[in-house]
């Protein structure tokens, strides 16, 4: 978070103002300093080399393993996959933009609260956000998918050139998304900016809907400019390939440099979304009838008044639903959605659930509430948050999927229950194991450091996707009771794990460790 000279700062003989080149150099150097500072705060350092090795290993696997899959290079399916690559390239750009805009300009290399004492420039902030962008499971999964697509569809000798081109495309898209995100943030921070951003988003959503309804979406996707890039990526190390790579490089460098301009513009303006929440009046409501209801109400307010959580859940609830409509997902395929949305929702705050109270946890812990009740209320609010987002997604997706059969509906409802308990259990377990002192005031805040978030998101994605696949299969069996029966062992296992986590919270020593860490 950038800081500037205060009104009481006096001018010195050597002016603190620097030229653009010196500023840029200093910003790049500062990114290094901040990255080292951030790396120095990692608690389990031994895990870092392992994490890096796993990421590199998975990337290499994505580049090579698909070559060995049945039908690679030769089948009709391989050809079809290649035909879809330009759309996938464009899709990556679109999702990168949505992710960067929703997070208010990308993740912070150093939090606003920590950065306030240091002269961190908006350029440093911009470069830091770019550096952290790949530490996101959605980014990584798409990157591996694109690399895997090339390895599956192309002859082996063409894959290295294509992989290089894909990597450059990923970097260029991330930088382009950052320009859009900073620009939107700069717009959002001016008078009536929030309304303007909503209007812009609405226009794009309506345009997409119009294309879909008029049946021209496919035609448009056949002519996306990424066709030009993909055509040059897939021919091996030739001159035309070099031409494509050169264009990608130019886009990348230009986008990185240009992105600093809206970043400076946004930094000069007040974050209106956050300010509106913090300065607004919330009318008093009647006292709830029970202690549990009071605890739930307090936690619920903490969630829905948080800018990053509100934005995040809106994107999570609406985004996959729109993709499902565009992709004409049928009901069995829809079983992939609740796990995806629940995982994303938990990553907004659930994986460090006690951070909702911040330092207020010190006061809350002195209140005479039974620890079990406090835990129950937090679990309930998290579950409610995840279910609300999943239901919104399913509702959107169902608009095109028609009326489900009883067994399709049963599979989806059972899956929703199972993944919710699964995700709530995992999130609260991690919240107790590794609490972090996080200020969730900024739209760019995350409940845990980026590298930890990658670990959490990977584990959630794997478990919920596997569960989703099981129920996707069950949705084809024409007997609704089968899904119910299959859900029972899942629910017993997840509930047992959740109750074990509750047991940890009941232990005063463990609880005090969490409280002290969160309130640090």
């Amino acid at each position: 978070m950038p800081t500037g000279l205060s009104s009481t700062s006096t001018a010195t003989a050597a002016s603190p103002r620097l030229g653009p080149v010196t500023s840029a150099r200093r910003a790049v150097a500062d990114v290094g300093h901040l990255a080292r500072f951030r790396a120095g705060t990692v608690r389990r350092r031994a895990a870092v080399p392992w994490t890096i090795a796993i990421m590199v290993g998975l990337t290499l696997a994505a580049c090579t393993l698909p070559m060995t899959f049945p039908g690679a290079r030769t089948s009709t399916r391989a050809a079809e996959v290649l035909v879809l690559t330009p759309t996938a390239f464009a899709g990556f750009l679109l999702l990168a933009i949505i992710s960067a805009v929703a997070s208010g300009g990308g993740r912070e290399l150093i939090s606003r609260e920590q950065a306030v004492a240091f002269p961190v420039s908006p350029t440093t902030d911009h470069l830091g956000a770019l550096l952290l962008a790949p530490l996101n499971i959605a980014w990584l999964l798409q990157a591996w998918t694109l690399l895997g697509t090339m390895a599956y569809g192309l002859p082996v000798h063409l894959v290295p050139a294509a992989a290089l081109s894909v990597l450059l495309w990923l970097a260029a898209c991330t930088a382009l998304a950052q320009i859009v995100a900073w620009t939107m943030e700069a717009i959002r921070r001016q008078p009536h900016g929030i309304g303007m951003v909503r209007a812009i988003t609405g226009v794009f959503a309506l345009a997409g809907l119009a294309l879909q309804l008029s049946g021209r979406l496919g035609e448009m996707l056949d002519h996306v400019p990424t066709v030009w890039i993909v055509a040059r990526s897939t021919i091996g190390f030739e001159w035309r390939w070099a031409e494509g790579v050169a264009v990608e490089l130019v886009i990348l460098v230009a986008a990185v440099v240009i992105g600093a301009v809206p970043a400076h513009l946004a930094a000069r303006r007040m974050p209106r979304d956050e300010a509106r929440v913090e300065s607004g009046q919330f009318s008093a409501r009647r006292l709830p009838g029970s202690v549990f209801a009071m605890l739930v109400r307090t936690d619920r307010s903490s969630v829905w008044r948080s800018v990053p959580m509100r934005r995040g859940i809106a994107v999570l609830a609406v985004g996959p639903g729109l993709v499902a409509i565009a992709g004409d997902l049928d009901w069995p395929m829809m079983t992939i959605l609740p796990g995806l949305v629940a995982s994303g929702g938990a990553l907004l705050f659930g994986v460090n659930a006690w951070c909702l109270d911040g330092r207020g946890l010190l006061w809350r812990e002195n209140l005479p509430a039974r620890p079990g009740q406090v835990f129950g209320a937090r679990a309930y609010v998290l579950a409610e948050f995840l279910v609300a987002a999943s239901l919104a997604t399913i509702l959107l997706a169902s608009l095109r999927a028609g009326v489900p059969t009883s067994y399709e509906l049963s599979a989806l409802v059972c899956l929703l229950l199972v993944v919710t308990v699964q995700v709530v259990g995992a999130a609260l377990r991690w919240s107790a194991q590794r609490p972090f002192p996080v200020d969730m005031r900024s739209a760019r805040a995350t409940p845990a450091p980026p590298i930890v978030m990658v670990g959490y998101s990977t584990r959630l994605a794997v478990s919920t996707t596997l569960t989703g696949l099981v129920f996707s299969g069950l949705a084809h069996i024409p007997e609704w009771r089968v899904s119910v029966l299959a859900a029972v062992p899942f629910l017993i296992w997840s509930t047992w794990r959740l109750s074990r986590t509750a047991g940890v919270w009941l232990d005063p020593v463990e609880r005090s460790r969490v409280v002290m860490a969160v309130a640090a």
Binding site: E278, M294, T298, P368
Partner: protein, 235 residues
């Protein structure tokens, strides 16, 4: 003298290798206000957190109003009010919602008028329905004192209540302490501000390196002479 409301004997608190409190004995009585003075890291806030039921003692006994902290933590929380040294406020809840939470969990009846009166005395009436995330440090401190005193607890624990607070807030806090003493509550105040501690309290405990090094009447710590004596105890 009557039974102490707070009776701490040989309290030890360890965080891994660090011993934050190393065998403190504290007795504090009804109708008295006791100041905990000492340098940073002396163990003042940790002792307060133990009394507030946040940190279980590693060793030693902590008895509040005849209740054992290990067995009756919840009962002790019902009769105590705590203003933490840092923050102490839920960032996205309003002051009124904080008061409602406290009132509901403590089963308070007809608390609204007193709550409004406290908010007015601490000049927080205008911001009663704004979330505390946007509060200044001083506003947060003042609200923490309001929250600690709403239910007129038998044991009032104020950790750095004067830190960054303006003179009106300091006066209001002094009034809260005087009211609590008048109704027979036991008050513990942890602070770095010796003069204010002496003004608010009857007794002073000086802690150093997690241990108690002096226990005197506050008058003995007053003025230049008291300042020199205090300085000598810290070094």
């Amino acid at each position: 003298m009557s039974e102490p409301v707070v009776d701490i004997r040989s309290l030890h608190v360890r965080f891994g290798e660090v011993e934050a409190v190393a065998g403190i004995d504290v007795q504090a009585y009804a109708g008295q206000a006791t100041a905990l003075l000492g340098r940073n890291g002396a163990g003042k806030s940790t002792t307060m957190r133990v009394l507030a039921g946040l940190i279980p003692p590693t060793a030693g006994t902590v008895v509040v109003d005849g209740l054992d902290m290990r067995k009756d933590t919840l009962a002790i929380k019902r009769i105590s009010g705590y203003c933490p040294d840092v923050g102490g406020l839920i960032p996205r809840a309003t002051p009124w919602e904080h008061l409602q939470l406290s009132a509901r969990l403590r089963r308070l009846e007809d608390w609204e008028d007193r709550a409004r009166d406290l908010l007015e005395r601490f000049e927080l009436g205008d911001v009663a329905h704004r979330i505390t995330g946007g509060f200044s440090h001083g506003m947060g401190r003042r609200l923490s004192v309001v929250l600690a005193s709403l239910h007129q607890p038998k044991l009032l624990l104020l950790d750095e209540p004067f830190d960054g607070v303006d003179p009106i807030g300091v006066d209001a806090t002094m009034d809260v302490v005087a009211d609590a003493r008048a109704r027979g509550a036991c008050i513990l105040i942890s602070t770095h501000l010796r003069e204010l501690a002496i003004q608010a309290c009857t007794d002073v405990l000086v802690l150093r390196g997690g241990s108690r090094v002096a226990s005197v009447e506050s008058a003995e710590m007053a003025g230049e002479e008291g300042a020199r004596a205090y300085r000598a105890l810290l070094d």
